[in-house]
């Protein structure tokens, strides 16, 4: 794939970038899931003022354009793989929260949940043994989709120069922004390959999400009937 302006091998940067991107994505999305899911479950189950407050907070975050928010957070907490991961987490928590909460709300009224309460189950038992399995249904799909989105966001951050530390190997976004100035001169390989990788990973994850959906939905339908 040639070398870039400073002489670094584009191919190895691209490959390294895969690892970095996945790292960021993993941290970001996994933590978002780990926080968003239980909070959504709790909020949906408990209702009342706590629910309203949480919804307000989450909706506010959700309303913010993702990249902008991430940029703000990154600007505040500084650079680094871990920090970007955090920034991304914050953006995606509301998504997991909402999806989980809406599932919880619909399952909450089912007779078997009421039966569990009548049996004397404590709230956490009801939430985790009776509601969670249903709430979790949508998660794999959301997971892949938000991962795809996270890659883009991370790349976007880096492109803007807010992402990883300077010279972190394999920073696709950075590479893209660095490569911008060279396109005019005809050096296309610096930009096309990193860009292509971003696209491939994003699209791949989206397909994964759809595929998962196709697998899970029939299971859902069978369960319901």
């Amino acid at each position: 794939m040639g070398t870039d302006n400073v002489g670094r091998d584009v191919l190895s940067r691209v490959i390294w970038g895969a690892r970095t991107s996945l790292e960021i994505m993993a941290i970001g999305v996994l933590i978002a899931l780990a926080v968003g899911f239980p909070v959504g479950l709790l909020s949906g189950y408990v209702g009342g003022k706590i629910d309203r407050l949480l919804v307000l907070i989450m909706d506010s975050i959700y309303a913010f354009p993702g990249l902008l928010l991430a940029a703000l957070i990154a600007a505040v907490i500084g650079r680094g793989v871990f920090n970007i991961g955090i920034a991304i987490t914050v953006i995606y928590i509301p998504l997991y929260f909402r999806v989980t909460r809406s599932q919880t709300l619909s399952v909450r009224e089912e007779p078997y949940v009421e039966a569990a309460r009548a049996l004397g189950a404590k709230s956490h038992t009801v939430m985790f043994s009776y509601i969670a399995h249903s709430a979790i249904i949508a998660i794999p799909v959301i997971f892949s989709l938000s991962s795809a989105d996270a890659i883009l966001t991370a790349a976007g951050l880096s492109y803007l120069g807010l992402g990883l530390e300077v010279d972190t190997p394999g920073d696709w976004g950075r590479d893209l922004s660095d490569a911008q100035s060279f396109i005019g001169v005809g050096i296309w390989w610096m930009s096309v390959f990193p860009g292509l990788m971003i696209v491939i990973l994003t699209v791949g994850l989206s397909f994964l999400g759809e595929g998962l959906n196709d697998i899970i939905n029939p299971i859902l339908r069978k369960e319901r009937s």
Partner: protein, 425 residues
């Protein structure tokens, strides 16, 4: 109230006592409406219900949908909290106990819901679901012991072959099997009271008998007490020792099942019994059906709630402004339209009703004509309603129909039961 009619019984015999239970649900009303009308808008789901349940008996709570029987059932097991009134279980007032204090009590009172297909967690195997109460209450720690207890109870309720069914999911079971699983789950805690909310209504007829048999067997073997909630009078007659008939949030008749079925006293009970289809083509008979349908529980009729539909209604039963509006509405819809009527009576929207009054603003030069016309219409009304009218007068710009205040309804002891009806007061 009810104690006196069911004979002498020491309070220690009452497993459950419900006193003046009221359960009201708020209705979502737009803010403006809430500010304007001072009246709190609620659904009067349960509006003053009292009864007691003796140890070892099966009390049927019978009524049509919307009468509040399901709400009573759920409130007794404290899935809901009473708006007012008391629930006394095993001598203890549980009306407003916190959920954590209620938890140990839940071992002794359980509820079976109507829909067996929705009462089991689809993500749990039958074995795990039935054994879950033991884990919830920390009764048995050892996994093997739990399994044994579950297998035992499965055998007892007829969920066999139990080792095979243990690992199945609810989706693999038939309706009857599911209901048995639900019963097993409730029974594994060894409760004293079982509230069964329409337990067999959603099962096929050939399967119902088996489940009812199970209910009776469990009662005999474990000395259970049941509150059996249903709309099916035939099943209630077979199963229950005493029954309480509910209508729009109140108990209208309560007493021994055998005598109520033999000689129903309350007109609503009479109507219900008459209306049950008998599976015998030779026994077809003309039925006298109460008019209309059950009114909504947000604004129940005044006095006796059944009065607008009752075949034996009296002038003192609770006639009110709204009844006149209904009468007028019917008249306007069915009679041929006369020009005079158009002018005098106008459209139904021009009339209002509040409490025991109904009227309209009239700009006619001679309000006396309207008064006369109203009197004519009333003459064709059911006599009880006509006699309940105190006056029809023109007061300034208005013509007002005024009803007498009704007599107060009390639960009266009649023969071996109590009835809430002016016919017996």
């Amino acid at each position: 109230m009810t104690g006196s009619a069911s004979g002498l019984e020491s309070p220690a015999e009452d497993l459950l006592k419900v006193q003046d239970l009221l359960v009201h649900f708020p209705v979502k009303v737009p803010l403006i409406q809430r500010l304007i009308s001072r009246e709190k808008v609620v659904v009067h789901a349960v509006d003053g219900v009292s009864f007691s349940l003796k140890r070892g008996e099966i009390l049927g709570l019978v009524g049509e949908s919307g009468c509040g029987k399901t709400t009573v059932g759920r409130t007794i097991v404290r899935l809901l909290e009473p708006t007012s009134g008391r629930i006394i279980f095993e001598g203890r007032d549980i009306s407003h106990l916190s959920q954590s204090k209620l938890r140990p009590l839940r071992r002794r009172m359980q509820i079976i819901f109507q829909d067996p297909h929705a009462s089991l967690n689809p993500a749990m195997t039958i074995g795990r679901a039935i054994g879950h109460p033991l884990q919830i209450h920390g009764i048995v720690r050892d996994a093997e012991e739990v399994r044994q207890s579950v297998l035992d109870i499965m055998r007892e309720v007829g969920l066999t072959p139990e080792d095979q069914l243990f690992d199945k999911y609810p989706g693999d079971l038939s309706g009857g099997q599911k209901q048995r699983a639900v019963i097993a789950r409730a029974m594994i805690l060894e409760p004293r009271l079982l509230v069964v909310d329409e337990g067999v209504a959603m099962l096929d007829m050939s399967v119902r008998a088996k489940v009812l048999e199970l209910i009776l067997n469990l009662k005999r073997r474990h000395g259970l007490t049941y509150l059996f909630i249903t709309h099916d009078l035939a099943t209630a007659k077979f199963l229950c020792d005493r029954i309480a008939i509910m209508y729009l949030g109140r108990v209208v008749e309560l007493g021994p099942a055998a005598s109520i079925y033999a000689e129903p006293k309350h007109p609503y009970t009479q109507a219900l019994l008459q209306v049950i289809p008998t599976p015998d083509p030779d026994k077809r008979r003309k039925k006298i059906l109460p008019r209309g349908e059950v009114p909504d529980a947000i604004h129940p009729p005044a006095g006796c709630r059944f009065h607008p539909r009752c075949q034996s209604v009296l002038p003192t039963c609770g006639w009110e402004g709204r009844d006149f509006i209904d009468l007028l509405d019917e008249h306007l819809s069915t009679s041929p339209k006369g020009v005079e009527d158009d002018e005098l009576l106008g459209s139904i929207g021009e009339w209002w009703a509040e409490g025991f009054e109904a009227g309209r603003k009239t700009d006619a030069k001679d309000p006396k004509k309207l008064v006369e016309r109203v009197k004519e219409i009333l003459a064709k009304a059911p006599p009880a309603m006509a006699q309940a009218v105190q006056s029809v007068e023109a007061k300034g710009e208005f013509v007002i129909v005024q009803f007498r205040t009704p007599d107060k309804l009390v639960h009266t002891a009649v023969a071996d039961r109590t009835v809430e009806c002016l016919l017996y007061q």
